[in-house]
């Protein structure tokens, strides 16, 4: 049997995981030395309270999982004779998967016949969620791990995500955005437009002054780069600003004649630690990233 795994950095909640028959690995963050594992022990997570703390000036850190965490997650399934399909956030953004590789090396010794099929979404949050949903459709349609891995080879690069956030200090603190020019202030209305590159990294592709222009940039990017956008999922992610997400959705519908199937989805706190509150982004089917 093939067991389906994902992690909380793909914006999957325990409730959704249960619906899709999926195991959820919690990706932790820490604030002032105190580590939180979202959705590990509870179904609920107060995102609004979390982002409000960030608004109040708190800068969280994220951390990699240990080898043992992966052993604990995977071994029981291998022991039962199951294989695993793991749709996860970008390898290029974390050291977590080095721990996973070490755990898998151990497990291969013990269970040589077992296999982990891996889909690197080359992204985090909204784009990872979208690709996760696509993979879940295939999984539930009975596709094998090998088939899904082969699908992902091309499919992952056909999803693009562009986003912006209010305050650059979170990006700066996380250090995970490349090409973030020095000529950008924090809280000065300047918004870098960031996308998930084909290498699975957050890369700044320019900047806009003010939310209105930044929003317009996202919409025109979807138009220019989109490929059969109306025939695929469109997911808008936001860090505790549903009204901005709705505004973006309205603008997109306006541009695409109301034909889009848009889902609004909050960004998980661990990914949100990188971009801070009041960020909004869109994932869509594209010619390329």
């Amino acid at each position: 049997m093939l067991k389906f795994f994902t992690d909380t950095d793909c914006d999957v909640t325990p409730e959704l995981a249960r619906q899709l028959d999926c195991q959820l690995i919690s990706m932790p963050f820490s604030i002032e030395g105190e580590t939180t594992w979202p959705y590990r022990d509870t179904d609920e997570f107060d995102l609004h309270a979390f982002y409000d703390r960030l608004r109040g000036g708190v800068l969280p850190n994220t951390s990699a999982l240990s080898e043992q965490t992966y052993l604990d997650a995977f071994e029981p399934h291998f022991a039962r004779g199951d294989d695993i399909l793991y749709v996860h956030f970008s390898r290029a953004m974390t050291a977590t998967f080095d721990s996973m590789d070490r755990a898998l090396a151990q497990l291969r010794q013990k269970y040589p016949a077992r296999r982990l099929y891996e889909v690197d979404t080359k992204g985090i949050t909204t784009i990872s969620y979208t690709i996760f949903r696509e993979a879940a459709d295939l999984y539930r349609a009975g596709k094998t791990g090998g088939e899904i891995e082969a699908w992902a080879k091309d499919a992952v690069d056909r999803w693009a995500m562009y986003f912006f956030a209010d305050d650059l200090k979170f990006f700066r603190h996380s250090g995970r955005v490349s090409a973030l020019a020095g000529t950008m202030g924090t809280v000065l209305g300047i918004r870098p437009i960031i996308y998930m590159s084909a290498e699975g990294k957050m890369v700044s592709v320019g900047k806009e002054k003010g939310r209105v222009k930044a929003m317009e940039r996202l919409v025109s990017t979807v138009e220019a780069l989109g490929d059969a956008v109306a025939d695929h999922r469109v997911v808008i992610g936001h860090t505790d600003c549903p009204e901005l997400a709705r505004e973006l959705a309205d603008k997109l519908q306006e541009r695409f004649g109301g034909k889009l199937d848009i889902e609004l989805r909050p960004v998980n706190p661990t990914a949100g630690s990188h971009c801070g509150p009041n960020g909004v982004g869109v994932c869509f089917h594209a010619k390329h990233r």
Binding site: T183, M184, G189, G210
Partner: protein, 572 residues
Amino acid sequence: MKDYIIWTRPCVRLFQEGRDSRMQAQVLSGPMFAAMLRAGAANLAANRKRVNDLNVFPIPDGDTGDNMYMTIDSGAAELASARGDSLGEVAASAAKGMLLGARGNSGVILSRIFAGISHALKDVESADLATVNRALANGVDEAYRAVSVPVEGTILTVYKDAVAYAGARLNETSTADSYCADFLGELRRSLDRTPELLDVLRQAGVVDSGGAGFLCIAEGMQAALHGEAAAPGAAAPDGKAAGPDLSRFTEDSELVFGYCTEFLLRLQRAKVGDPETFDLSRIQDDLNGMGESVVCFRDGSIVKVHVHTKRPGDILNQMQKYGEFLTLKIENMTLQHNGTDAGSAAHSARPRKRYGIVSVASGSGLRQIFLELGCDAVVEGGQSMNPSAEDFVRAFGDINADTILVFPNNGNVILTARQAAELYDRAEIRIIPTKTVGEGYAGISMLDLTPEDPEEVVRGAEEAISGVVTGFVSAANRETTLGGVKVHPGDYIGFAGDVIYVDSPDRTEAAIALAEALKAGDFDILLLLAGREAPQDESFRLQAVLKTAYPRTEVILRRGEQPIHDYILILE
């Protein structure tokens, strides 16, 4: 020709001579010119406040007197480094000092007047009145060339009229005294005519401040000619030149920035042989090895040095191997009150980069904002305290870049920046003529430094500043009516450009009405910069009101801590 006297002795002797002989003189010598310059500077120093107050706007930001005084004072100070006492040498050193020390538009124009005079007097030992008048006329041409769009009714007109009038009345019976009287008479008349030429002056009921400053200088110079001493203590700088804040370097402070070390070194024949053939690169190499931000140039046997170092003693000992010091100034840069404020990395060795950015701002918050936006250096200054060309040159020297982009952020600073660019040759300097901090913010925040071609970078910046509107709220210090708005002293006025939109006894009300007048709701962003006088809780309340009034506009509040302008509203 009668009463032909050549003044070749210093002014001490001169003042002991009979008054009549000086006044009847027909030739100007170097020492006389030097004495007149010092007296001109002293007289302006005594009257600078009066000149400052000749302000079109009813707020206490007038600084023409200060700017012109600091400019001519730099010229007077540079007289010490004159290579000789010929008229040409004295004029050249005064002009050099003024070019570097120039502040504000009037200061720059003043420095160019004296530069023009000095060019015409090159190699002249002493000059008859016709030569003097030709030199003064060359000053007119040079000053007009310095400004891209000369405005009549300013110092330019006043000076031009005086030179033309006095020149036309020159004949063989003319004396220094009669020439001076003609010059000053027309200078005063022309100054009185400036409100006829400039509407803003007429409306504000003042004469042109730059012209008035020049009159002070000319009156001082005439007094020297008459052997009258300047008003006692007049030359002592007041007010603005406050001492350093010693509390900024405590018992536990660490020496991070080192010492700003400046000196004039006279090369000694006994130490270096012929000073004329001395290879200056020896000194430059020494300085580059021992300090940073080195600016070093020579004028004959005098070497002028500016260097940042943590061990000034080492440099002084080394330099003494070449000569002796004429002047010496060493300041702990942590205490430096004015000058440039750059990031902490500013004074460490940095690799050369393609572009550097210099901005101008006053107020700790504004400086911080510009550093956040990626500026390499922020020159202290702005409204009411304009930086000098030398301040810019120093900032340029701190930046290791091929092209330096300069954002003056004030209409009265652009010319100074241009002058500094002409004086600096270790990088290409491009001036983006931003007239307000709002334009500076717009231009710098949207800068794209990826193009190799600076032309393209500058074009992008100029596009970015085209749509920005900057409004100001300031306390009024006198009664006036401008553009139909009656201004009461003590009230707060809201203005943008030359237009006063509102007068209100309440600061917040003035800001709210100004936002309305500027149609804040049509803009994406309203950046509200709270000044030094605006209390924190008041500015928070104002932000909240503006947010409610303009729900579609992002209202961002930062403390700029700027003087004069209690609020700056930047709309984009």
